[in-house]
């Protein structure tokens, strides 16, 4: 029942036309090894669900330059202005979502919630065309769940069942993305035996995780390094 696979084996799950969720806040908590593998993988026409879509030519930004991304769903593409340029040129679709709505919609996708009402964004340009509702005298907007075919996330430790723990602010979107895709690939820095993780401190229980991949690229004090 060991879920350990190589990055190359794991990436085969990603098919042309898929919606792929990718964890991370910038490079922090991003699955750098799997993103690297995605650049070598043939699938295209991807809808990428990711807060930033990397930086210009870096991380997911590399995949963007390869022309494999059809649509980007996220909250802050300011970190990669090529997204804006391509969007203005009509070359990609973009769905810009407030960051709280982004994470909540992914949570909803994983939790079997079809949609939910939030005040965030109500009455703004980002709520245009969305259903509104007055609740307790305040305006709310209906946001729909976001789901993916594949989620590629980054955790700190996994046991061989696929239970996960995260590290500091590298946690970010990874735990919710782990719940919201048909197939979940967790890239981790360390793999331990079953029973070594405290049952009270497991953040992502193994029922969410399909495959565990050992990380080869890590963000360290010296920047992104490739392990020997």
């Amino acid at each position: 029942m060991d879920k350990l696979k190589t990055a190359k084996e794991a990436i085969q799950q990603v098919q042309t036309g898929n919606t792929v969720m990718v964890g991370g806040f910038g490079l922090v908590g991003a699955p750098l090894t799997m993103i690297e593998e995605l650049t070598k993988h043939e699938a295209y026409d991807l809808t990428i669900v990711s807060n930033n879509v990397g930086e210009e030519g870096k991380g997911l930004g590399k995949v963007l330059r390869q022309g494999k991304i059809k649509k980007a769903i996220g909250s802050y593409f300011t970190s990669n202005r090529e997204v804006g340029t391509l969007y203005n040129e009509g070359k990609i679709d973009v769905q810009l979502v407030p960051q709280g709505t982004f994470s909540e919609s992914i949570r909803a996708g994983g939790a079997g919630i079809g949609g939910y009402y939030t005040k965030t964004g109500a009455g703004t340009k980002l709520a245009e065309g969305k259903e509104e509702k007055i609740m307790n005298g305040e305006k709310y907007v209906l946001e729909e769940a976001i789901k993916g075919n594949v989620a590629i996330i980054k955790a700190d430790k996994a046991d061989t069942l696929g239970n996960l723990q995260y590290y500091k602010t590298a946690r970010n979107f990874n735990p919710v993305m782990a719940t919201a895709a048909d197939f979940v690939i967790a890239e981790v820095d360390e793999i331990v035996d079953v029973g070594e993780l405290d049952p009270e401190s497991i953040v992502t229980p193994h029922l969410y995780v399909d495959v565990v991949v050992r990380s080869r690229y890590q963000l360290t004090k010296e920047g992104v390094v490739e392990l020997g």
Binding site: F25, G26, V28, G29, N51, S75, Y76, F77, T78, S79, R81, V83, G84, T85, Y87, N88, V94, L96, V97, P98, Q99, G100, T101, F102, S103, E104, I106, R107, T118, K119, T120, G121, A122, G123, T124, K125, L126, K139, Y166, Y167, K168, T169, A170, R171, N172, F173, N174, P175, V176, V203, L219, T220, K221, G223
Partner: protein, 214 residues
């Protein structure tokens, strides 16, 4: 201590904070607020998943995987906790953050702000601004009174896209301090080296002047 314009604004904003508060700081001037508060008295929440952020105190403390919402490396206070983004924004939307200090491109007479999009530019980013406005108990805008090119920020009505229907509660600039009272802006304080004339000249929206103002 010789403070620059941005620091003066941050320092004045810091004075608005009550000890024990849960605070969220936006990118830019708001980030500087940490320089002017006693870290033991406040809890800084950062929406990427940390309650109990502090400024880095030494190079040894530097950890590339502990960052704030601006993706800058920060430190971890004693008593801190980490959580995922959905939980973090639940705190914000659910009204569990006492004060958000934010930047803005414009603030208008209704108290609405614009701080996420500039028409015609290829910048596509909203981040957590809309959430903070929808959920923080109090929102303080900390900005230079006018833009570098002289453009007025305190306007009659935002012409950039608004961030939220919600009115902010206060504005701190290098010229003055405004509070929202009964749905109107009231100038409560004129900053040193400024004057009512200078503020009036550089402010488009209508405001009252507090009677106690000196």
């Amino acid at each position: 201590m010789n403070l620059d314009k941005r620091e003066i604004i941050a320092k004045r904003a810091a004075e608005e904070l009550k000890p024990g508060s849960i605070i969220n700081l936006g990118i830019g001037i708001p980030t500087l607020v940490t320089k002017f508060i006693n870290p033991d008295d406040f809890f800084i929440h950062t929406e990427n998943g940390l309650l109990g952020m502090k400024e880095l105190e030494s190079d040894e403390e530097f950890d590339p995987l502990i960052v704030n919402a601006g993706k800058m490396a920060v430190g971890e206070e004693i008593g801190a906790s980490y959580f995922d983004s959905a939980t973090s924004f639940s705190m914000i939307r659910g009204g569990h953050v006492d004060v958000a200090i934010l930047g803005a491109l414009q603030v208008d007479e209704n108290g609405q702000i614009a701080n996420w999009a500039i028409p015609g530019k290829n910048i596509l980013g909203v981040g957590g601004a809309m959430d903070l406005l929808s959920g923080a108990k109090k929102v303080i805008v900390s900005i230079t009174h006018t833009a570098k090119d002289g453009r007025i920020k305190l306007v009659k009505e935002c012409d950039y896209p608004i961030t939220s229907l919600r009115a902010v509660d206060a504005i701190v600039t290098d010229l003055g301090f405004f509070e929202r009272v009964d749905h109107e802006w009231v100038l409560k304080e004129i900053m040193p080296n400024s004057s009512l004339e200078e503020i009036t000249k550089n402010t488009e929206f209508h405001f009252k002047v507090d009677q106690d103002i000196n």
